[in-house]
Every structure is written in C-alpha cells, then in structure tokens.
Symmetry: C2
Subunit: 328 residues, 2 copies
DNA sequence: CGAATTCATGAAATCGTTTTCATAATCAGA
DNA sequence: TCTGATTATGAAAACGATTTCATGAATTCG
C-alpha cells in the first residue's frame, strides 16, 4: 500500500504539498499539481481513511437506529436516508435495536468511540436520560419517534392527529363499535399518542369503547391473524378495527376473508403507513410522508455535523393524509 | 475528551500498561489493572476508534451491497447479516447500488481506502473484472448472486433448479400455456439461470413457449399490475404464469382479481421467495433459505477477515423448497 | 547456586494523514 | 526602492492509539 510519503518521494515534493493537492487547498502551482497527480496514479495511491479520520476528528459516517430493517416502514426510511447521505458524502451504519433497551444502549458506544459523527434515531426504547450524556460526543437527531424531554431536533408527525384522522373516518362511515389493534409499545410516544387520538375521536362522537376491543402487541401480518382470531371469538364483536400498521391490517383482512367474512360489510379495517401492501389488499390507510421525514432528518444531521454546533430542540411536524380504499 | 495519556497520568503508569489493560493482555498485575480501570472510569475514558483503526489496520466494519433495501428479499438478508455481524463485534455499512453500475463501483472505494475490512455482494451489476483488482485490499464474498469468474467464496442457490422446480410444479398441475414474468436483469446470473431452468422444464415436457408470454422488467407489485394488463390483452392468453418474486406475483394476482378473474382457475400464479406477502395472498411460491444464506455469507466473511488470508473460490449451494398454496 | 524462563513495566517507534509554523519568493502599492 | 501582502513550499508537530524493544524482577530448573 502506497502512502502519502511514497507519493511525495516519487513526485520529489513534500507530504504537505501532496496533502494540499488531495484536499484541493489553494497555493499549489499547476506544475506540482500535475506531478503529484501523476505520482498518485502511478502508485495507485488512495488516502488511508483511518489516518484521515484520526487527524480530522471526523468519520463521515452516520449511525441510523431502527428496530428491524425488515419492517417496511423502517426500510423505506433507511432507503431514503442512505440515498441522501451518499449524495452528501456520508455513509450509513445500520443499527438494529430489535426493540431491546440494551441493544440500543450498546450502539451508543459508536458515537462515544468516534466511529460515527452522529446518530439518527427512528425509534426509542430507553428513557431520554440514557441518551442525554452522549450529546457531548456528537449530534443526535430524532425522527418518527419523539420525546418531550429530548433537547434535539425531531422530525415527526403528530400521531394524535394521525389516529384521530383514521378513527374519525371510521366514525364518519357510520361505525360505532370500533376495535383498536396496535403494538402499544410501552416506551413509544408514537404508540401513546395514537391511542390518545383514537380515544379522542371516539369521545367527540360520544362512542363507547369496550376493554375487550383492544388488541395489543400487534406488529406483523402474523399478529393480524391472531388478532382476528381473538376478535372473531367475542360475543360482542366490533364492526370496524383501527390498526397500527398496514401489515396488521392486512393480516386481519386476510384472516377475515379466510373465515368467510366480507370486508368492510362484516368488518371494516383501516391500516397505517400506506405501503405497497395496502394498495394490494385494497386497504384504507393513513399515509405518512416517509420520504420527507427521512430527507429532513438527514439534512438536519448533516447540517449539525458540518456546523459543529450542538443541536438545540427543534420540531419539524409533517402532515398525514387519508387514503380511502375499499376496506372501509 | 480524555486520551490514553490522561489515563496513564492519572493512574501513575505508562500508556503501554493502560493499553494492555484495555486489550486484556496478560502480564499486568491485578493492582495496576485496578488502578487503570478506576482512572478510566473517573475520566470517562473510551478508546478512540480512529486511532485504534489506524494502528491496527482494521476497521471491524463490513460493507454490504444491496440494490435497494426496500426490496423485502434484501432487507431480510441484511437483517440477518447485521444480527450476525453484531454478535461477532462487527458493524455493517449499507450500500445501495440502485441497480446502477456506477453506484456499485463508487462503493468499492470503501475497501480501497480502508474504511471497511471486507465486502459482501448480494447483487452484482458490473463485470467481475471490475472487482478483481480490489481483492488485494480485502476479502470479498458473494451471496445470492454468483459469477463463474469470481475467484471468491459464493453462497447461493442453483437458480436453474429453483425455477425448474416452480415451473415443473405448474406443468404437473396440468398447465401447458405458461407465461414468464421476471426482472430479467441483464447483468444478473440469477436472472439468466432462472430462465434456463424455466425453459428446461418446458422443454422436458415438450411444451411450447410463445414470445408474447415473456414479460420483463418486473420487480414490484406495480410491475405486476402492468404485466397483468399486457397479459390480459393478448388474444392467446397463458393459463399460468411463473414470476421472479412474490411482489410481482401478488401484483398480478391482485390485478387479476380486480378484473374479475379467478385464481387459479382463470390464471395460476407462482411466486418466488416465500415472503409474508405470499402467505397473505395465498400464493404458491419457491422458497429461498434467506437466513441460511445470510449467516453463511457473514461467517465466511468474518473468517476471512480474521484469517487474513486471501479467499479462494468456494461454493456453498443451498436447496430450494416449494411452498404450495392456493394460487396454483 | 547460576542459568534460563517467565512476568511486569515503560520508552520510543509506528500507523498515515492534516495542520501549524516558518521561510522564501513574488507581487502590488506608495 | 522599500514595505507589506500574497503565493508557494517544506519541516515538524499533532491526532491517539498499539506494538516493538529493552530492562529488571521474580520464578523455575538442573
């Protein structure tokens, strides 16, 4: 492996000048620039990035936290982020927290040990106080999830509004017995707010909710199957169900279909996210502008890294959209 | 930021001893070990990974190439790889090539500039000769895709067998007019072999194929819609269609359903991958053992990095499985 | 008991860059 | 022509770890 020293020797110049050429500093004559470029080419030289990182104290790498990359919502988020990051000369390190507090904390070391310039969180398992101390090591940006105590920029949607929008739609369609089937993840603000919005819509319409119409821990298609099974065994069944994701909605729809139920006549279903799956299953759903969330979060991050200033609290709140299909 | 020097001073010892404690070298008395540990704690010291990388000449980071992370096949692959890598103390850098030759080549710099210890390719756009020169910078492992000229380990499935298996199944069900709807990506060996296996099955059964029953560039649900539209406008329509992915199959199934067709009576459909989507849409499909592919590829990579020996050609070929559902 | 190991530590070299500082040479303005 | 800025270059000091080499002390062995 050729080093900058080798190039310098070959070109008959100093390391400094070579470095200047590499980094496009001014004050290098065309003549020397040519010499250096040629020497670099002949030696097949490439700057060693570890050395550069050490000296520059920056890594041009950003860590992105997701629970699991196979969740389409998060893979979409990551796809856009990676694209945006690459465009700006940054790499992405993928951190799957698997909904585990400890996993999430482990990855924090990346920031502390200077392996990444910053952290983007798309989900939050731990209390914000766990993150707080790491802010001195580099910027953190929150997106999708949010926390009132987080003193960093957050790009998110007002999930109260989102679930209100979806629930209101069900109510407007005339349903009065409405089930609620979501992950209801304890540490998630998104979960909490969704529930608030849901209840708020019911409340405004003067509609009652029954304890047995809540179905929790539903994340996947499989969970949707299970939820339907429970639902179908109730004496007093809901006429419609609000879900936390298109996967769950799709699972319920499929199970209902297999059981000979008609959607929406026997059971109306509303999904969340508007993924390709929703179009496929003809599910009404609440759309989240994933592309925009991802881009904005990444932009804030790169800005923060380059400004080298600590980030302050800042909220970017984006709007939802209802996509009406035949499941409601 | 505290450095190793600060710790050494605080503990009244040399950098060397501190380093020994950090790296668990033998030959340090318990007494000094305690002193160092305490000093590290008090100073909130963490080793700087850039410095460590520079000295050690390794990064504990692996780059994974995928076309797009939103493709469920690849996100599944990456999920398992990340898990496996984390378990072994490695990080993953995500590289989305977006099916572009140039993007793919750009990411090669990561290896050359020593930002990663190795490369795992799950898709290949460029000719192998483009990768060849980079082998001197670190190990490369191919998985899913494969190339005869690649002198590195490859973990893959014999796609000729896979599509043969699926096509044979359609033939066994009595279909004689069979369409073929895949990506048919030019640079992909997978694509080529799938077609070979398909034609082979037809050939063995003495079945004729019509040019108009080939539908190419189909990757997504959306593409499935389009393919069905074309198919349905033919005078002589196929009775069954072999597809390259569950998404495409699902798209066709949905479009067919919307058009009032019955599956499989009016059109039989077989997918590929056995993703959650396939269960949802009740699609017969050819299953690929994604978990195993991912794990094996990652193991080979870590082994290669740690052995520090150049990798030689080696093939790990895994088996397919047919999942029969109601779409055929 | 002397020689050969093994254990324990530190000084200094090293990894490959970028940055600071110093020094000339050139140029512009009075 | 002198002064002060601008341009062009290199020597040497960082960046923060690990590793080599040297050296003594303690232990084992014949």
């Amino acid at each position: 492996m050729a080093t900058i020293q080798d190039v310098a020797k070959k070109a008959g110049l100093s390391r400094t000048t070579v470095s200047r050429v590499i980094n496009e500093h001014p004050y290098v004559t065309e003549e020397k620039k040519r010499l250096v470029t040629q020497a670099m080419q002949e030696l097949n030289y490439v700057p060693n990035s570890s050395a550069r990182r050490l000296r520059r104290q920056q890594t041009e790498t950003i860590a992105v936290y997701v629970p699991r990359i196979t969740n389409p919502f998060f893979s979409h988020l990551v796809e856009v982020m990676e694209k945006e990051a690459a465009r700006k000369g940054y790499q992405l390190i993928l951190c799957q927290t698997r909904y585990k507090k400890e996993q999430e904390r482990n990855f924090l070391e990346l920031l502390k040990t200077k392996q990444v310039d910053g952290l983007i969180l798309t989900s939050i398992e731990n209390d914000w106080s766990e993150f707080e101390p790491y802010l001195s090591f580099g910027p953190i940006v929150v997106c999708n999830e949010y926390s009132d105590s987080a003193q960093v920029p957050s790009v998110y949607l007002n999930q109260i509004e989102g679930s209100y929008l979806g629930t209101k739609h069900l109510i407007d369609q005339g349903y009065t017995k409405i089930g609620y089937c979501t992950g209801n993840h304890k540490s998630s603000r998104v979960s909490k707010d969704r529930k608030i919005g849901f209840l708020q819509a019911l409340d405004e319409a003067g509609i009652m909710m029954k304890e047995e119409w809540f179905f929790y821990n539903a994340y996947s298609v499989q969970d949707g199957f299970a939820a339907f099974k429970k639902l179908s065994e109730l004496d007093d069944k809901p006429q419609a169900v609000f879900t936390g994701s298109d996967e769950v909605a799709a699972g319920i729809a499929k199970a209902a279909f297999d059981a000979g139920w008609k959607v929406p006549e026997d059971l109306a279903i509303i999904g969340f996210d508007n993924q390709p799956l929703a179009a496929l299953m003809d599910l009404t759903t609440v759309e989240q502008p994933i592309d925009t969330i991802a881009k904005q979060a990444m932009n804030l991050m790169v800005e923060a890294i380059q400004a080298k200033k600590p980030l302050s609290r800042k909220e970017v709140i984006l709007p939802f959209q209802l996509i009406k299909r035949s499941s409601t």
